[in-house]
Symmetry: C2
Subunit: 432 residues, 2 copies
């Protein structure tokens, strides 16, 4: 979080304008790749992080609970599943919430101290954020609640080969600015949540000249081969970017803009810039999606997810009209994507000056979700997301809507502090 | 050209179906990079190639004439401009038409024997085609009728550094299939004529593991730096692909499909699959465009262009709804791009089974221009293109329409051979 306040006595509009400015002026730069335990402030060796608001271990069930315990097993903190459960229940092992550690979780969002993380710095405001690595194209991944020799091997490859090579290249490059990559990827069919194909390529190209100089040629070959097959690779970088961007807009007194949205096995939750670190929790999102062969929507399971930080900063579902190729992955039609994307302008306070949608004549993406606009219009944020299955693994992708309850509770909490917020009548809103 | 005929007594529809099959089943693979003089069949050491139907030297004027003479100067065949003119006029130097040599010219389309070319082979039908290299981002380029120390230095860099490095990488790779790159680039904002950003990136990624193995590290660094700044790089590969594809569909008796469209300083011209090597010439295209700062449409000049081979095979203007980001480069609105793209379905006989437009719900691009459909509907092919200025150099980009006269003449020539072609009445065409 970044210190900064609107002028004393500032209105909600003024506070939101300041939060918006921080959302759009943030400048995420990838500065390093390091083991989480070395760089994530306060991450103790006995701690596993996961997606969603902080909860005690016993609050997690099904796939998310599995993923947490599997994380402990991967880290060597538990000899088997039962041992892991016992140690979490006894307090010997601890579970933490990613957001509390400057991290941001993809799906179950499991972080252990030895896992490498991207270190992203906000060059404008100085704050840092972290995200770990995409596990590759296998549907069986730890962050989708799976574990086994295959999952472990992938994670070790990332830890021992991929992350050191990329880390050295990044340090040789003196850091890699991520905003120019994201800006450009939006003109190449990405919305930077469920489609990261162009951004991954652009990032790879930034790395090339530096990978060329590395001594371990075999590691470079393996790194390139992995990244070539991993169109999703950049997602973790857009998420770390989203985290440092949203964090910079958090903590502005009087602002009613959303500064984080998250999910766990217990439901969705949002945080509001001017309302401290309180999470406003609601039920699970509603869901439309496209399932991989052999699955139906009934097979989906909720095990967390914080990649919707990208929607919080004007990407993903808020930029889906930049990414018509997404149809093939998450279903829907171009018409539906355009309609949903346009709706997002109804619940935001600004248009991004650097992230543009070519199909909208290069209009800026909608950014800065105001909880009062959501409550007033009944339009909830739409989120592009991967879908997990009951038995773990990815089984599809789709569009979620974050439940209105989160926004109603947040609006009520805001009014408790600041008094009633006058919502403009319909005829005032539609006037030019 | 590829041998192959429809069954004896086949109808126009059957001949067109065969030509269409060849257009969509062609499989261009980059197999080598070599000096034109080594690989282009029949290219004599005293010959300069240029865009458009074959003409005597005296038929070329202004920018195209300049470009031809500059080509001779670059090749060391002329000591200065006047010397070059004298030698072309005396017959000591000769000018040839790119298409007659298996080559395909970008704008003025100048080829000299020492210039490196991409060697592209049609893996399905066995024919080969050639295209030389993009000169880089400078607006002053030989193919835009410019010459000087700057232009010469760029061309020498391509010849001495870039082409050898890329050639070695391509040979190490055992050839690089281009169709998968083009297929994918259409989902990443390219239409592969005026936008090649994604294809260039995808091609670079294919090269990289092989560049990594090259001995001359400095050449690799320079090659990567050049390609990073050259979003247009892949155009020459899509053009060579278009050439081997269209050539495979040429020479099918009874087919009325267009197998090439070209431009020179004298006007536009088309060739038809079933009508041999005759060019049907017409006036210059009509033009809508966006000029670089300081220019107007009155400053544009015609000095040739054969990149519209890409439209001939279902790309470029025929896929522009895949490339809304083009607005920023060549003007127009998404609505206009969609409308023009849809029009192209009216004058073609098929939809490409592998080239898809995400905005049209992954509908295949319109492919196989039938001269009779053009004449009947009055809809002329639209072409995305760079624009040259009166004083040389690129001054903008825009959308051209190839004049109807070319198609009328071709249709008349077809009917002279095959008798009257019955054009379906309006109510027959619009019936389901």
């Amino acid at each position: 979080m970044v210190s900064g306040s609107p002028p004393a006595g500032a209105s909600r509009d003024e506070a939101n304008a300041l939060a918006l400015e921080r959302l759009v002026r943030s400048d995420p730069v990838l500065v390093d790749v390091r083991p989480a335990g070395e760089v994530v402030p306060g991450l103790a060796p006995n701690t596993v992080l996961t997606s969603g608001p902080p909860h005690p271990f016993t609050a997690y069930d099904d796939g998310q609970r599995d993923a947490i315990v599997y994380g402990a097993m991967y880290e060597g903190l538990a000899s088997d599943y039962d041992d892991g459960v016992r140690k979490f229940e006894s307090g010997e092992l601890r579970v933490g919430a990613c957001h509390d550690y400057g991290c941001i979780g993809s799906l179950a969002g499991i972080y252990t101290p030895s896992m490498p993380v991207f270190v992203v710095e906000n060059a404008t405001y100085g704050n840092r954020g972290y995200c770990n690595f995409y596990e590759g194209e296998s549907h069986r991944r730890l962050n989708y609640g799976c574990y086994g020799e295959d999952v472990r091997r992938n994670l070790l490859f990332i830890q021992d080969v991929l992350a050191p090579a990329i880390g050295e290249a990044v340090r040789r490059a003196g850091g890699i600015p991520l905003k120019p990559i994201m800006r450009r990827a939006l003109h190449m069919g990405d919305e930077l949540h469920s489609r990261n194909t162009a951004a991954t390529l652009l990032f790879t190209r930034e790395l090339f000249p530096h990978l060329l100089e590395l001594g371990d040629r075999e590691a470079v070959r393996k790194t390139l081969a992995f990244m070539k097959d991993a169109d999703y690779f950049f997602l973790r970088l857009s998420m770390a970017s989203g985290k440092v961007t949203a964090d910079a807009a958090h903590g502005i007194p009087g602002s009613s803009l959303v500064s984080a949205m998250t999910m766990s096995c217990r439901g969705a939750a949002i945080r509001v810039s001017g309302l401290g670190n309180r999470w406003f929790e609601g039920p699970h999102p509603s869901l439309q999606g496209k399932l991989f062969e052999g699955y139906t929507l009934e097979d989906t399971a909720w095990m967390g997810g914080e990649s919707l930080i990208n929607e919080t900063v004007g990407l993903g579902g808020f930029a889906q009209a930049a990414a018509f190729p997404l149809q093939a992955y998450q279903g829907g039609s171009p018409e539906a994507m355009i309609r949903m994307n346009l709706e997002m302008y109804e619940i935001t306070v600004g248009e991004h000056p650097e992230f543009h949608i070519p199909y909208f004549g290069y209009r800026g993406t909608p950014v800065g979700i105001d909880v009062f606009k959501v409550v007033e219009t009944g339009i909830t944020p739409c989120v592009d997301a991967g879908l997990a299955g009951r038995d773990g693994g990815q089984i599809g992708a789709g569009v979620l809507r974050i439940p209105i309850e989160c926004f109603r509770d947040a609006a009520a909490a805001y009014e408790e502090v600041h008094g009633p917020v006058r919502v403009p009548a319909e005829h005032e809103r539609t006037a030019p």
